[in-house]
């Protein structure tokens, strides 16, 4: 269970999620401070720890379009957010999978800020509105990376296998 803390429209770019002017900051431990930094209200809430882990961002189509900067995924991951979008831009989707940022593809999602949401298997339930929406499952190969805990452990396992250790 978690609340929708931010609702955004279509084509939200990585320049909105994590502006280019902070790109010299790279470590996942340091990027969260700049998440949605130009949305001063929301960024302030994050930094004041007013957004509990497990909260949701609801987005339209093509969330995360633009730059390949991984900071856009790591900064959201740092706050324990889950992103639900109608669909995601390719590189952002892959970055999220690689880092373990939970994101749910849900083409029919309906939710507003403040709504209570609950994820159950392949559906997401808007408790406030009393409606359920189907989540599109990820291709198996991508799910395997998530199940491994992200691409770092996934690659590490392959590396160890390759080295015959």
């Amino acid at each position: 269970m978690g609340k929708v803390v931010l609702k955004v429209g279509d084509d939200v770019s990585t320049d909105i999620i994590y502006p280019g002017r902070f790109m010299a900051t790279v470590l996942p431990t340091e990027t969260p401070q700049y998440a949605f930094v130009d949305n001063a209200d929301f960024n302030k809430k994050l930094k004041a720890n007013e957004v509990p882990k497990g909260s949701f961002i609801i987005a339209g189509q093509n969330f995360g379009c633009g730059s390949s900067r991984e900071q856009a995924a790591s900064c959201l991951h740092g706050w324990g957010l889950t992103i639900v979008a109608k669909h995601f831009a390719r590189i952002f989707l892959q970055n999220s999978i690689n880092l373990g940022l939970p994101m749910l593809i849900c083409p029919t999602i309906e939710a507003d800020e403040g709504d209570e949401m609950e994820v159950k298997g392949e559906t997401i339930r808007n408790v406030t509105k009393g409606k359920e929406f189907a989540i599109q499952p990820l291709p198996k190969a991508r799910q395997a990376i998530i199940d491994a805990g992200g691409l770092v452990p996934y690659t590490r396992a392959l590396l160890i296998k390759q080295a015959g250790k």
């Binding site: 320049d15 002017r21 010299a24 379009c65 291709p139 691409l151 590396l159 160890i160």
Partner: protein, 430 residues
Amino acid sequence: MGMTYVQKVIARACGKPAVAVGDVVEPEVHLAMSHENGALVLNQFNEIYKGTGIEAKIWNPDRIAIILDHRVPAESSKTATNQKKLRDLVAKQKIGKFHDIRGDEGGICHQILPEYGYVRPGYVVVGTDSHTTSHGALGAFAFGIGATEMASVWTLGRILNVEVPGTIKVVVNGKFPAHVGPKDLILHLIGKLTAEGANFRVLEFHGDTIRTMSTSGRLVICNMSVEAGATSGIVPADEETLRYLKTEAGVTEKIDVFGADPDAVYEQTIEIDVSKLAPQIACPHTVDNVKTVDQVAGIKVDQIVIGSCTNGRLDDLETAARTLKGKKVARGTRMLIFPASWRIYREALKRGYLADLAEAGAVVCNPGCGPCLGVHQGALGDQEVALATTNRNFKGRMGNPNAEVYLCSPDVAAASAIVGVIADPRNGGR
């Protein structure tokens, strides 16, 4: 069933006779490029090796390119330290293709890779930069990835879990009218497809207009394919590709040229006739918000930028110099020129373009990304308007979320500089 160009490239890189759309494969990587964000790749690379007891070694240092371009010379101590880490990495891992901040061989990654002949037809090229799509101009399957994914490539030499993308065939015919060119074509196409119209797909370019287009023009259209969401834009290699690689990039080895199968299956075919195309402008704040120049002519512009990996090549600077020679940049408008590489810079210097531009009032900056991503040069003030030959106009892109960026061709940018408002070059800049 025949294969599209990208299917053929992937099949070869997987050592398989064929791959089908949707197959999940692990192709070998021929070239892996990073810029300053290589510092994050390095961090993730070390994470992968942590606790394994295995010595952290890049699988093949000759296939790694590191190009410092995004914030050059460094704008802050933080950036300088990241750049220093990369120099140490290059020395330690003996990375072959390193371009430091230097006037002889520096420049923007997407210009350096083709210019130095690092990209070949049939290559699988990955880069920690979304505009890695550029290299499809030379017949490679080239796409952007994140830093962790790159760390995985550095470790294993292949890219994991690539889904073979479907292909949209784009057939372009007709002769460009005067003052209209590749930038207008790609802006028009993005407007048609929308910012997500080609998500998870490849754009494969065909037609007479493409066949007669220079590699410089092909780089423009492949560079911006990602703005329609495409994984990659590809121009199958041909005579022009060979000419470019041999005479401009100095490649001497044999180059393998192949095409898509004649019976390849495309998801969709888009036909474009450019003979009546008008100059196109992408309006704030999305690249697919495309209008023709007459619809926005007259809008006051505070800053004009000619440069970037999209339009900072010699032909672009030539257009600008020709238009501005003996004229002046309008008072109240700043004009910034960012050549895409130092090789281009030096050639433009020799040919007198840079002097013509400076005499007109333009500021010629050092090659690099500069204002394109708004980190350290040419940031915009509140409520200012920029007109740029770059490839993105997202809110905040030029360093300020309270400013607006319009995208256009060098032709439109140069004509507009003289009058200080968005102008149609076909009307002699009125």
